[in-house]
């Protein structure tokens, strides 16, 4: 990093980190929360053994995908987006969009998994009551989600944490191009490789400060939502 433009570049990098991880978390929440709610509510329905079996397998798959190595995800997205790959015509490789896609895949199982268990922990009676009051299945699911908001926010917090700290995946699909796809984490990796540990830690501190501010907002909402 060159002295003169140091802060400008840090700002640029930070904003990109926020944009990519924020969008991935946001889109991930939009996709993952409905799926997680659906899976979490499944146990109220089919009581048959086969249904239970399907249920456990699906949940296991989600839980397993919570442990997808980012590098593998990056690789898969890369193989999709590479010029010779099936989505090569989109020309998204080495763009922030590719990074968002990568983090999306990492983030979705986390949101599904934690939402699923949060929703599943809500007493059956809450959903029953909503249905009894005339709610459609969807409206009842929304209400359960509202009652489970502490856990759902926890899933978003965990997902955002995973995204903002992720590096292996976006390195492959974003290419860590300066002024374009370099984020705080990829910059940290470079500084580390260079042996500039102080700079790496400084960038880490910046990342944590930003994460702190965002989490402060999320935590306040979370704590307020607690059931008495």
């Amino acid at each position: 990093m060159y002295e003169g433009i140091f802060w400008e570049e840090v700002l640029n990098i930070t904003l990109l980190s926020l944009k990519v991880s924020g969008l991935a978390t946001l889109i991930g929440a939009l996709i993952g929360i409905p799926i997680g709610t659906f899976l979490g509510l499944r146990r109220f329905k089919g009581k048959r053994t086969i249904m239970r079996f399907v249920d456990v397998i699906m949940k296991t798959i989600v839980n397993t995908f919570m442990g997808l190595p980012p590098v593998v995800v990056g690789l898969i997205v890369y193989l999709l987006l590479t010029a010779s790959g099936p989505l090569g015509w989109l020309g998204l490789l080495y763009t922030p969009m590719a990074m968002i896609m990568t983090q999306l895949i990492i983030v979705i199982p986390i949101i599904i998994g934690i939402t699923m268990s949060a929703v599943g922990s809500i007493e059956k009676s809450i959903r029953e009551k909503a249905l009894s009051l005339g709610a459609t299945e969807t409206q009842a699911a929304l209400l359960v989600l509202r009652e489970a908001r502490m856990g759902v926010l926890s899933s978003i917090i965990a997902a955002f944490g995973a995204a903002i700290s992720e590096v292996g995946g976006i390195m492959i699909t974003g290419g860590n191009i300066r002024w374009w796809t370099r984020t705080l984490t990829t910059a940290i990796v470079i500084e580390t490789e260079l042996g500039n540990f102080t700079m790496a830690l400084t960038l880490g501190a910046i990342l944590l400060t930003i994460a702190f501010i965002i989490n402060l907002a999320l935590t306040i909402i979370q704590v307020k939502g607690a059931r008495e």
């Binding site: 249905l131 009894s132 009051l133 299945e137 509202r146 939502g225 008495e228």
Partner: protein, 353 residues
């Protein structure tokens, strides 16, 4: 909707039959009460009628049409015309206002403020609008639940012990409100309760559930005034005490306060016993008979239930015995509050639980 027919309904929970072939129908505008001991299946039946549980077999017909439990759309449509108050109060983590507005909101209604306000007034909860529903007292919460069921003006109202936690004043108010909408608006009501006087005051017809079967069905008069009431209704004359065996092979149960009851069974230690009211003989003069148990007491309550009169007799100024006599012999004996009477029953009439 307002007509409810239930046809040989069965319900199983993990292999255990909870409802064992229930058949009955409730007319539009009827006030129908389900009575029965704990675990007899009342709540299960109401949940099936509210389409929350699917019967294992059998059918429910609403307004002359069989209910298709597999169609989620039909379930929602029907449920929107039914109001239900659950036995265990469940409220959402929102203000009282939002809780009561919820059933209107899910129906897409906009201007609910007025409706919510007036139904809250009805259940005496004016001023509680902004309070979080989870911080209410037991009775307040139960009334919010009642308000939630009433606010949509349902055609069918399912009430699972709606007054269990209410103070007598609020219980009366709720009874008044539901009996009012039942009569004025011809709303069909199916209610469970353990309060027999509520049955008497409110019900057009009563059904007695026991062990998942419908044991009796009829008007209050038919069931409670019949000369030989069903054994399952035995709820009076229950005593707890310590039993010991006599030389004669019977048991003597000390139920405290100096009252000893002789029973035909052989039991030692803590027992709970029951003496069916219809097995007790009443007399104005000391009885000399084969009955092993005779006590002197005073009448403290007289209740007319048709051609039967129920009397509460205080023995040793502490123990209450309920005795049933026909109206005729009641009149002949010229009994009244404070009259001194003698009661007697056989050792074989004493049942152990």
């Amino acid at each position: 909707m307002s007509k409810v027919e239930v046809k040989s309904l069965f319900k199983e929970y993990s292999g255990r039959q909870v409802l064992k072939g229930i058949t009955f129908s409730v007319q539009k505008g009827e006030f129908f009460v389900l009575l029965g001991p704990n675990g007899s299946g009342k709540t299960t039946l109401l949940k099936i009628l509210d389409l929350l549980e699917e019967p294992t077999s059998g059918e429910v017909w609403l307004n002359g049409e069989p209910v298709d439990y597999s169609s989620s759309k039909e379930r929602v449509m029907l449920r929107r015309r039914i109001g239900m108050v659950f036995q265990q109060t469940v409220l959402f983590n929102m203000s009282v206002l939002d809780n009561v507005a919820y059933p209107l909101k899910v129906r897409g209604e906009r201007n609910f403020e007025q409706k919510v306000k007036s139904v809250l007034e009805l259940v005496q909860l004016k001023g509680f609008e902004r309070k979080n529903a989870l911080t209410l007292s037991g009775g307040e919460a139960q009334r919010v639940a009642i308000a939630q069921a009433l606010v949509t003006e349902p055609e069918l109202l399912l009430l699972d012990e709606p007054t269990a936690n209410l103070d007598p004043k609020n219980a009366s108010i709720v009874e008044e409100v539901i009996s009012h909408i039942n009569r004025e608006k011809e709303i069909t009501i199916i209610m469970t309760t353990h309060n027999v006087s509520q049955v008497e005051n409110l019900a057009d017809r009563v059904a007695i559930l026991d062990g998942g079967r419908m044991e009796l069905l009829g008007t209050f008069q038919e069931i409670f005034r019949s000369p030989s009431p069903n054994k399952n209704l035995a709820m009076d004359n229950i005593f707890h005490g310590v039993s010991r065996i006599t030389n004669e092979g019977t048991s003597i149960i000390d139920i405290g306060d100096g009252v000893h009851i002789e029973a035909a069974f052989k039991r030692v230690g803590n027992v709970t016993i029951h003496v069916p009211p219809e097995d007790i003989i009443l007399s104005k003069y000391p009885l000399i008979s084969s009955a092993r148990n005779t006590f002197e007491g005073t009448i403290t309550q007289i209740t007319d239930i048709g051609h039967i009169v129920r009397l509460r007799v205080k023995v040793m100024s502490i123990k209450d015995f309920i005795v049933q006599v026909t109206k005729r012999s009641f009149n002949e004996m010229q009994l009244n509050i404070g009259s001194k009477v003698y009661i007697a029953f056989k050792a074989s009439s004493v049942q152990a639980n």
